[in-house]
Symmetry: C2
Amino acid sequence: MVEAEIYITLKKDLADPQGITIKRALEALGYKNVEKVGMGKLIIINLNCDDKIEAEKQIRQMCERLLANPIIEDYSFKIK
Amino acid sequence: MVEAEIYITLKKDLADPQGITIKRALEALGYKNVEKVGMGKLIIINLNCDDKIEAEKQIRQMCERLLANPIIEDYSFKIK
C-alpha cells in the first residue's frame, strides 16, 4: 500500500479569484503583510501497490487523464 | 519573503463525497487498485516577513481564524 499526495495548482498568471478572496479576508483580519494567496487542490490517494515505481507511473497517468486540467493547472506529487 | 504551503484535509472518518466521486471515476478509467481517495485544499501564501518563527506564528493563526474549520478539518503547513 502506498499513499500519494497530489498537489494541483493553477498555472502562473491565471486569475485565481478564490486566492484573491482569501487575501482580502486575511487583510480584513489585520494581516497586512500578505503578498499573494494561491488556492489549489490536495488529493490523497491510497493505492494497493507495493512497487513505488509502478505507483508513480499510475499516479502520473491519473493526473494527466483525470485529476488535473493540463490547460490551466500544474500538478506535482509525492509517494510515501 | 517566505512562502507557506498549507494543507487542509477533512478529519478522519468524516464523509468525503468529492473523494468518493474521484475514486469512482478512477475505477471507471480502469484503476481497480485505488483503496481510498481524500480531497483537501492546498493554500499557498507569500508573506512579507523575514523571520520564519514569526511567519510560522502568523500562518498558524490564519489557519485557526480563517483558513481551516477546526470542527471538521485538520491543517498542517510548511514554511519555505
